[in-house]
């Protein structure tokens, strides 16, 4: 109980609240701006929060991402341009509603159900995380090894339509993670005598490159293709929302639950949650023929889902140190920088930080409604900011941010390399997220693998002897088998089709 009170004290400090408010405004802005994503918002926040205490820096990230995922709905509804990929699933549907003259209701539904979905996600985070942490306290290197394997496999399996390219991305990320001092024996690997490489590859700088600079590269080319946009007038957005809740409560509940679950699975975040929920909604709808004509049902389900996924992703991140999506991958980096190694021990050693994260999550979803309303009303001004100014400014911010991560130009070099690489990967259908997860989890995976190998001393069965490790191991192997079978089937079918 003491920890809870301490947490309240930590959060309700005027300077912390100010940071959270500023982060909320920043998140709204980045989310509402088409082409800037929630992950990018997080990557850009890290250098700013680098020197802050843990609570305000985590608070800033929590608030900014929750806001950005909602704010992405606004340009989707108004202009059919999703502000973040998480709104892409229902951008067409939203825009069709606007064309039917239902923009107000649509925006109202988006802001209210985003907040409600977020709160469901937080409820699960609060309920599940401590219980899972208690379980995880008994985990040995075997369990962690399988958990990391399963997580990384899920990232490949769910996150990409093309498992081979997903694996390429993952294995490449893990290989890059090998650069530096090896975690088991302390031997420098692939460093070529370079002092910077000895410290390893700074993955915040990598992420600024892969998630921000690569977007800027795309943006530079598309700069002149986006014509002038006309923002429609907005009236009272909250009229009729209560009726929607009564009518579509089942969609809301299903969307939030599924969103939390998908968020908690490593590698899949808010965008995939929205796609899946929209599809589920259509599949089980009594009126599936109305989908695609400007129908609310799917929007309710998907907009609840993507915001609940934001909170769901924190469950494995806090409990096991395995990120649920690319945003929490950055969070894990921040936790390490603050000297709080994510994992079950944080729950016993620093419970006040965990409770503070919970409180901030609730707070963020509550202030989402008034701030979201303000964002909707000021959309005209946001879209008036010329991209000709915005893109170079973000670039400069990236350069300084990457520099601040290493206090040398090494960070900028990493940012540039991975920015171009991230752009190239996206062009070729290779997903970026598995690479980042591989880079973040590489050390933990290797450490647990090596420890387990040394403990087992060649007896492979030791990996399956403990009950939880055994179940996780079998599950991982089953997913691998499933992937092989699927791959073989498509390979066999293709020559027949050709």
């Amino acid at each position: 109980m003491d920890a809870v009170l301490t947490a309240f004290g930590l959060v309700f400090d005027p300077s912390v609240l100010l940071v959270i408010l500023a982060a909320a405004v920043f998140g709204m802005f980045v989310g509402a701006m088409p082409g800037l994503t929630a992950t990018m918002a997080t990557a850009l926040l890290v250098p700013v929060t680098f020197f802050m205490d843990p609570v305000p820096s985590l608070g800033a990230i929590v608030t900014a991402t929750a806001m950005a995922i909602f704010a992405g709905d606004i340009p989707a509804a108004m202009l059919r341009m999703p502000g973040t990929p998480a709104s892409a699933a229902y951008a067409d549907e939203s825009f069709l509603m606007t064309k039917k003259g239902q923009l107000d209701l649509n925006l109202g539904v988006n802001v209210v159900f985003s907040a409600l979905g977020g709160i469901v996600g937080v409820a699960f985070l609060v309920l599940c995380a401590p219980a899972l942490a208690e379980l995880a306290l008994n985990f040995s290197s075997f369990e962690y090894f399988w958990l990391a394997c399963l997580g990384l496999t899920c990232a490949v399996f769910i996150g990409s339509g093309n498992p081979v390219k997903g694996f390429v991305s993952l294995l490449f990320g893990l290989s890059v993670g090998c650069i530096g001092i090896d975690p088991a024996a302390g031997v420098p690997r692939f460093t070529f005598g370079n002092v910077d490489l000895m410290s390893g590859v700074n993955f915040i700088a990598v992420m600024i490159g892969a998630f921000a600079v690569s977007e800027l590269l795309r943006g530079g080319v598309e700069l002149h293709q986006v014509g002038h946009v006309v923002v429609p007038q907005v009236g009272n957005v909250f009229r009729g929302v209560a009726g929607v809740l009564r009518r579509y409560w089942l969609n809301f509940v299903r969307g939030s639950l599924l969103g939390t679950l998908i968020g908690a699975l490593p590698g899949a975040g808010a965008d995939i949650a929205a796609w899946v929920s929209y599809a589920v909604s259509k599949r089980f709808s009594r009126t599936p023929e109305k989908f695609g004509t400007g129908h609310l049902e799917g929007i309710v389900e998907a907009t609840s889902s993507n915001n609940s996924a934001v909170a769901g992703a924190w469950i494995p991140a806090l409990v096991f140190g395995i990120p649920g999506d690319s945003i929490t991958a950055i969070v894990i980096g921040v936790l390490y920088m603050k000297g709080m190694n994510p994992g079950p021990t944080v729950f016993t050693e620093n419970p006040q930080f965990i409770y503070a994260v919970f409180i901030i999550f609730v707070l963020a979803n509550v202030v989402m409604i008034p701030l979201g309303w303000a964002a909707i009303k000021s959309m005209k001004q946001v879209l008036r900011i010329p991209r000709t100014l915005l893109l170079p400014l973000i670039l400069l911010f990236c350069v300084v941010g990457a520099f601040a991560m290493t206090n040398s130009s090494y960070g900028i070099v990493l940012m540039l390399i991975f920015g171009v690489l991230g752009w190239f990967m996206e062009e070729n259908g290779i997903p970026v997220a598995p690479m980042i997860l591989g880079l973040v989890l590489g050390e933990m995976l290797e450490q647990n693998f090596m420890t387990s190998m040394i403990k087992a001393d060649g007896a492979w069965l030791a990996f399956f002897e403990r009950p939880i490790a055994g179940s996780l191991g079998v599950m991982t192997l089953l997913v691998w088998l499933l992937m092989l079978v699927r791959g073989a089937r498509t390979a066999l079918r293709r020559p027949a089709a050709a």
């Binding site: 081979v164 294995l171 088991a184 893109l391 170079p392 670039l395 400069l396 090596m450």
Partner: protein
């Protein structure tokens, strides 16, 4: 820039091969079966497997008529190619000249150049570049104590 899967596969093969070859120089410890080379070698093996699958797939795509490299339509417009290269080149310029010139003059010049290239009016580009440079310098250098290079302004700041 879409590259045929076979090309990607060959690049990956070279990369994985180099990685495995480099691990042969890692020290091994007597009495310890599992050394620092094990994990990278496993990863290299996985990459080789993926590379072979990609090469196979790339060949199938070649037979179906895909080129080795497919460029997006904008690559034929020199203006857009410069727009694409402008930002990475700006970063390279920063890397080369930051220490000599210092953050404030260089950041201002790069911002201004990018603004103008992207078609911003000079009347708006000039003040925005100046204010943004000073704000970022104030925030990171003064507030966050990030040692941004001072360059030309070493004696003045």
């Amino acid at each position: 820039m879409r590259v045929n899967d076979a090309v990607l596969g060959v690049i990956l093969l070279l990369l994985a091969g180099t990685m495995i070859w480099l691990t042969t120089y890692f020290p091994s410890f007597p009495g310890q079966d599992y050394g620092p080379a094990l994990f990278p070698r496993l990863l290299g093996g996985g990459l080789i497997l993926c590379a072979l699958l990609l090469i196979r797939r790339g060949h199938a795509a070649r037979r179906a008529g895909e080129g080795w490299v497919t460029l997006a339509p904008w690559w034929s417009q020199p203006g857009l190619v410069v727009s694409f290269l402008a930002m990475p080149l700006a970063v390279l310029a920063y890397l080369f000249f930051a220490d000599a010139l210092g953050f404030i003059p260089l950041a201002f010049a790069l911002l201004l150049a990018l603004f103008l290239w992207f078609g911003e009016r000079p009347l708006r580009a000039l003040p925005v570049a100046a204010v943004a440079t000073l704000l970022i310098n104030w925030f990171f250098s003064d507030m966050m104590r990030v040692p941004l290079p001072r360059g030309l302004l070493t004696g003045i700041l």
